[in-house]
């Protein structure tokens, strides 16, 4: 038989054909293909805001001068504060913060403008609801920034000289410093992990549960055909999900696609293989779909927490960083963010790629070894 004939009559095709029919009839899978990417995208894209901005702020301006209004403007311009109104006295501040109407309050004392005019050190006060340390940190840094900016302006006006130092920060790749830009590429990685480990793992376990795996094992279908036919449809689903997220990400969150999409699709292969390896591995342990689901979720948790998807790995204690090194997602996130946000090529990404390929080979080898064509 020629290679073409062998390919044409491979027992891989009926498996693939059957799998696609089943997928088409399974409403849950269809939902998962389209709904899951959309939900994940909106959930993570909108809800996860690690940068706290637009803190609702009330102002108690006892100075009521052009000077005090200038300070309020500078504060608002940092972007960390949204001035939602004026209050008449200290009680007004207390009530606003206690009610949750405001997270911060700016108090400008009556002698603020006079102090500025006379060249004395003027004081203003920032009151912060610090119950949530992330928002209070944003308020504190915003207040400090505003004070410096205004102080420099005042010194400049007073002495009629240019400011001695102007530090210009250029936030590359994500100039507006939006969380979504950081998170959404990661959503692709998370979705692929779910699809390949959970859904593919369950699909194999389901065949075992229903007794069809036993039936398949007595047929002459080879182990490779069996697994390829079973798993390739999920690879297709994965690429569809990935494309959907990139499209919606561009549309809704204006996520850039700076690098080569083809390179991204290519470098996704080792990640998918590695994740399928995990899914297959799970399927060799789990005796029923419930167990498979539990095992897959058990695997998802470190992926969400330790891969750098949301929390920066640099901030983690070392043991947590080591665990992260064993996760395919850790490396794939570098690929995703590298290509989408930085627009880098293979030259910059060969290290994470090599790690992905290595993990893929190990995981696949282990799970294929465990997946034997007998049932004992």
């Amino acid at each position: 038989m020629t290679v073409i004939q062998r390919l044409r009559y491979s027992r891989f095709w009926p498996m693939l054909w059957k799998e696609f029919i089943q997928m088409r009839r399974d409403r849950l899978t269809f939902l998962m293909m389209t709904g899951l990417p959309a939900i994940q995208l909106l959930l993570f894209g909108y809800a996860i805001q690690t940068d706290v901005r637009h803190l609702k702020t009330v102002v108690l301006d006892e100075s009521r001068t052009a000077e005090s209004r200038a300070l309020v403007t500078v504060m608002a311009n940092t972007g960390n504060f949204d001035v939602i109104g004026q209050v008449a006295n200290r009680d007004g501040i207390r009530i606003a913060i206690e009610n949750g109407e405001a997270n911060a309050a700016l108090v400008i004392p009556p002698d603020y403008a006079r102090d500025v005019m006379r060249g004395r050190t003027a004081t203003a006060q920032m009151i912060v609801d610090a119950a949530d340390p992330q928002s209070s940190a944003a308020a504190i840094s915003g207040a400090q920034l505003a004070a410096q900016v205004r102080a420099t302006q005042i010194v400049g006006e007073r002495l009629s000289i240019a400011p001695p130092l102007d530090m210009r920060v250029r936030p590359w790749f994500n100039p507006a410093q939006r969380s979504a830009v950081f998170i959404v590429p990661g959503v692709i990685g998370i979705l692929l992990t779910i699809t390949m480990t959970l859904i593919a793992g369950i699909a194999v376990v389901r065949e075992r549960e229903r007794g069809t795996l036993e039936q398949l094992v007595v047929t002459p279908i080879g182990k490779t055909s069996l697994m390829l036919g079973k798993l390739i449809p999920f690879v297709v689903v994965g690429y569809v999900q990935m494309t959907v997220v990139m499209g919606l990400g561009k549309l809704i969150f204006d996520i850039p696609v700076r690098g080569s999409v083809i390179l991204l699709y290519a470098l996704t292969v080792p990640f998918i293989v590695a994740s399928l390896g995990v899914g297959l591995f799970i399927s060799t342990f789990a005796r029923n779909q419930g167990q498979a689901m539990q095992l897959a979720f058990f695997f998802m948790l470190p992926n969400i927490l330790l891969s750098g998807y949301i929390f920066p790995r640099m901030a983690m204690p070392e043991p947590a960083q080591w665990i992260g090194l064993a996760l395919p997602l850790t490396y794939y996130l570098k690929v995703l963010r590298g290509i989408l946000l930085k627009g880098v090529g293979f030259g910059e990404l060969w290290r994470p790629t090599a790690a992905l390929v290595a993990l893929a080979l190990v995981l696949l080898a282990v799970s294929v070894r465990r997946f034997t064509k007998t049932i004992d």
Binding site: Y9, R11, W17, I21, G211, E214, I221, T374
Partner: protein, 258 residues
């Protein structure tokens, strides 16, 4: 049952099944022990025994689903352990759970298994049509397998297991939980297959089915304790019916366990 399908070894062909010292252990449990069994070509052979006597384990070893712990099993001329793929091409297997895809139609189930067994193109189409006619399921061809009744599922499973016209067919309690009419129809199909030269190994709990087999083997606690035609078995155990043999065996088992 026609006499032409009698238990005579076909000339030139190795026996359908030949096991020597076949043994399977699961940890400390010995499921099948030192089983020597020969099944001739074209036979309808019944494997009987109480629950846990090793029937299913034996069938699973013969199909290559389980690896024997010791001994050899040669099925349709090929060693199960050494060359499982050669065996798989030539056998059909129908488990108690049928192995059907509930979310595929009748058509698609047969087509899937036929293609997995290497049938393609017109040969496949013709075979499928003939098979569906044989089992009378043509009118349900586009129904999902999951919506069929037990009897129809059983017939569909038989069609799937025999789509490639195997030399040897293993049936593990094929009629469990099926109504009497469906059982009768099923056995008609079995005799049709046997008349065309297919060797059949069937396990069952139904005594009337046991009596339809040409030869029987009784297993008890993993051991072969009786082998022969129905008449020979009755004589060996000095019982009036196969059912009495069965009850006698179960009594002995329980006596041994106590």
């Amino acid at each position: 049952m026609s006499s032409s399908a009698a238990a005579a070894p076909a000339a030139g062909l190795p026996p359908a099944v030949e096991t020597v010292g076949l043994r399977k252990t699961f940890g400390p449990l010995v499921a099948v022990d030192r089983l020597d069994l020969t099944i001739h070509r074209g036979e309808v052979f019944g494997l009987l025994g109480p629950n846990g006597s090793g029937k299913t384990t034996t069938i699973r070893m013969l199909c290559g689903l389980l690896t024997p712990s010791a001994g050899t099993a040669v099925v349709v001329g090929h060693d199960v352990a050494a060359d499982p793929e050669a065996v798989r091409m030539r056998i059909g297997y129908m488990s108690q759970r049928y192995g059907l895809y509930d979310d595929l139609t009748v058509d698609e189930n047969i087509k899937f298994y036929a293609t997995v067994y290497g049938l393609h193109g017109r040969a496949r189409t013709e075979r499928l049509e003939a098979h569906m006619r044989d089992i009378g399921i043509t009118e349900f061809r586009s129904k999902l397998a999951g919506t069929l009744s037990g009897g129809w599922k059983q017939r569909l499973a038989l069609a799937c297991a025999t789509a490639h016209e195997p030399e040897m067919l293993f049936l593990d309690e094929p009629t469990a939980g099926v109504d009497p009419a469906a059982r009768r129809a099923f056995w008609t199909s079995i005799y049709d297959l046997a008349a065309r030269g297919t060797t059949i190994l069937v396990t069952t709990h139904y005594m009337d089915e046991a009596e339809r087999c040409q030869r029987l083997a009784f297993l008890s606690r993993g051991h072969l304790i009786g082998l022969g035609t129905v008449k020979e078995i009755l004589a060996q155990f000095k019982q009036p019916t196969i059912e009495d043999v069965f009850i006698e065996l179960q009594r002995r088992d329980e006596g041994a366990a106590a």
